[in-house]
């Protein structure tokens, strides 16, 4: 692998789901959940993927790890094309690509002990940890994620929500992955526990050199953990930049609206923000608007927005955004 090859490279990814009629189960149309998404993540880097429901951010994650099949586009992991990989090779590569899910309880087998949950992966990949090292390695992993190593024989229901998420993290780390996909990994947790898990994820990143694809709807959380940020809307990335730039100078109207809608716990301490209230809801991905997909909710929309799909390209000399009328705005958050 050349030195500068990104760890993960996603190019023009499309993932569609068939829409079937209730009666005859005939395919009556398609939902383009992911409609041409490209990004890359360097080794040890963190890309935050933000968007609301229906944006396709979770489908991107599921397509990368092979839970959904892509329709077109490419997914290169360490330069190797995943979409056409033979299953045997895919299993080997998947070792380095792990996922942490939103609901730790639903993603942990309730009938397995913590030790069984963690060692299951080693049974499948015997080269990672030899059997006689299982017990000490489990203890070390539990300690690393902040759980009591003496609790290895307990079952998931004996833990709190935050602790269960730590079990999910320990399981993801068991195979010493290079990339961990966190799909709303902290959104179901109480604020006080969420902060603990965010700190843990940051520590693990620096200790183990992990890269994250961090998917979340909470902008403050994404800002906190990401190097790069991509904003998704209806299956497309509408803006992408470094964390610093995206939050300081968002130029796509949707990013601006999202940022302006972030609840501020200390609104009195800063100059008043300009609220941008966008109307309506996200349109159905089964029937996206022509041209710019955001135009039905956009206060800047003109005829050209319906006619021409704006490309995600460098605008205003700042960073890529998919808007015909990209514009600087610095009144959204005080700095």
């Amino acid at each position: 692998m050349p030195f500068d090859t990104p760890l993960l490279q996603v190019r023009d990814l499309h993932t569609t789901f068939p829409l079937r009629s209730a009666l005859l189960r005939r395919t009556v149309g398609h939902v383009q959940a992911v409609a041409g998404v490209s990004f890359e993540i360097p080794a040890g880097g963190t890309l935050g993927l933000v968007g609301e429901s229906g944006s396709g951010k979770s489908t991107v994650a599921r397509t990368i790890i092979g839970l959904e099949k892509s329709q077109s586009g490419s997914i290169l992991f360490e330069g190797e094309e995943l979409t056409s990989l033979p299953p045997a090779r895919m299993r080997q590569v998947r070792r380095h690509l792990q996922m942490i899910f939103q609901d730790p309880y639903a993603s942990l087998n309730p009938r397995a002990t913590v030790e069984q949950i963690i060692t299951e992966a080693w049974e499948i990949h015997p080269d990672v940890v030899p059997r006689d090292r299982f017990k000490p390695e489990v203890r070390e992993l539990l300690e690393r994620v902040g759980l009591n190593p003496d609790h290895a024989a307990r079952y998931p229901h004996q833990f709190s929500g935050g602790q269960r998420q730590r079990i999910g993290i320990a399981r993801a780390l068991a195979l010493r992955p290079k990339l961990v996909i966190c799909d709303e990994a902290v959104s179901a947790l109480d604020v006080s526990v969420q902060a603990q898990v965010l700190n843990l994820l940051a520590d693990l990143r620096s200790e183990l050199g992990l890269a994250y694809l961090f998917i979340a709807h909470d902008l403050s959380v994404v800002r906190h953990i990401s190097d790069q940020v991509a904003v998704m809307y209806l299956g497309r990335i509408v803006e992408t930049a470094s964390q610093q730039e995206l939050f300081a100078e968002p130029i796509h109207p949707y990013s601006q609206a999202l940022l302006s809608a972030v609840p501020d716990p200390l609104p009195w301490a800063r100059p008043p923000r300009t609220p941008i209230l966008i109307g309506g809801d996200v349109p159905s991905p089964a029937d996206p608007p022509s041209g710019c997909r955001f135009r039905t909710r956009c206060w800047k929309a003109q005829d050209v927005c319906a006619a021409e799909d704006p490309a995600l390209e460098l605008r205003l000399g700042l960073h890529p955004a998919a808007c015909h009328f990209a514009e600087r705005r610095t009144d959204l958050v005080a700095r």
């Binding site: 709190s160 902060a195 902008l219 906190h224 200390l266 309506g280």
Partner: protein, 333 residues
């Protein structure tokens, strides 16, 4: 303010029988809601905030749960001792509620316009035609686009945000004097959340009603609430005007919550979370329930449960249930 509060909850106690034993979900909670005021009832899982609201509305799940102590005075009358018909009348007309999940609170087989209109037909004896006209008017007020076309749609034809608007329209139908909204935006996307909070604040202002916002999200209520009541393990741990409480927290739980929030601007700093997990109501520690997670905890906290007292040196009304509130205040600044 000298006027009598619209809602006055005193020493409320609600217990639940579970397979593992009796749980005290609300343990002596007291707070007031004045006329025209917006109060945020804030807490994480197991804090008792939702059960408190259920007690006010008389919908504590039975037979597992029951109110075992305290009083809930609404406009001078105790809701806990009022005869059932009078209670129903009050709770139907004057106290309304909006829930987190509007789909489960709407009847899936009736058209939305008819469900809103039903409020006028049942409580005001309106004719079908009048009820329909008033439902339309309400749908417009809560910002449902093309309301006349949507009157005859069913709940599943509405998006999450629009359903929440329908729920708010139903809650407002009888011009309640008190609206209780339990996590009204938790299930919604952030841009839709902003719309709904804006709508609630506007309606509260127009109607002059009192609004109780139950939430786990410190940020969502900062702009709209006048006062905040923080709950932990069934007790009120801190209360006061929201800016005063957020900027000069006098309880370590509140400071811990603030330190747990990633900022949306300024430098990125390591979060300072609260240690440990949410309280186990079946196995609460002696004294202060928060003490296993608290950096200030000492022997006094184990021996004596702290009362909700005035925060030392802070303008009133600001109260905190912490033996070390003075130290918490001085440590932060």
């Amino acid at each position: 303010m000298t006027a009598e509060p619209l809602l006055s909850v005193r020493d409320l106690r609600v217990e639940f029988s579970t397979a593992a034993g009796v749980v005290t979900a609300v343990d002596g909670a007291s707070f007031d809601v004045r006329r025209g005021e917006t109060v945020a009832l804030l807490g994480e899982s197991g804090s008792g905030k939702s059960v408190t609201a259920q007690a006010v509305l008389g919908i504590v799940p039975k037979p597992a749960g029951r109110v075992t102590g305290g009083s809930i005075h609404y406009d001078g009358r105790d809701l806990l001792t009022l005869p059932a018909p009078a209670k129903r009348e009050l709770r139907g007309r004057e106290i309304a509620m909006v829930f987190q999940d509007p789909l489960s609170s709407l009847n899936p087989v009736f058209r939305v316009g008819a469900q809103i209109g039903e409020m006028f037909r049942r409580h005001r004896g309106a004719s079908r035609k009048e009820a329909r006209a008033q439902a339309l008017e309400l749908m417009r007020r809560v910002g449902i686009p093309a309301a006349e076309k949507r009157l005859d749609d069913y709940p599943h034809q509405f998006s999450g945000g629009m359903r929440q608007r329908v729920m708010i329209a139903m809650a407002l139908a009888l011009s309640p004097r008190l609206l209780i909204a339990d996590e009204p935006t938790t299930a919604l996307d952030v841009t839709v959340q902003a719309q709904i909070m804006d709508l609630l604040a506007r309606l509260q202002d127009e109607e002059g009603m009192s609004l109780v916002l139950i939430t786990h999200d410190l940020g969502v209520v900062a702009d709209v609430a006048d006062r905040v009541v923080l709950m932990y393990a069934g007790r009120v741990v801190e209360a006061g005007p929201i800016r005063e409480v957020y900027e000069h927290s006098a309880h370590p739980y509140t400071t811990g919550l603030m330190g747990s929030l990633p900022a949306i601007d300024g430098p990125r700093e390591r979060l300072t979370p609260i240690q440990g997990g949410p309280p186990d109501l079946l196995d609460l520690p002696s004294g202060c329930s928060f003490r296993p997670r608290c950096n200030f905890a000492d022997q006094l906290c184990a021996d004596e449960e702290p009362a909700l007292l005035d925060a030392p040196g802070r303008p009133l009304p600001h109260s905190s249930a912490c033996h070390h509130s003075g130290k918490v205040l001085s440590d932060a600044f």
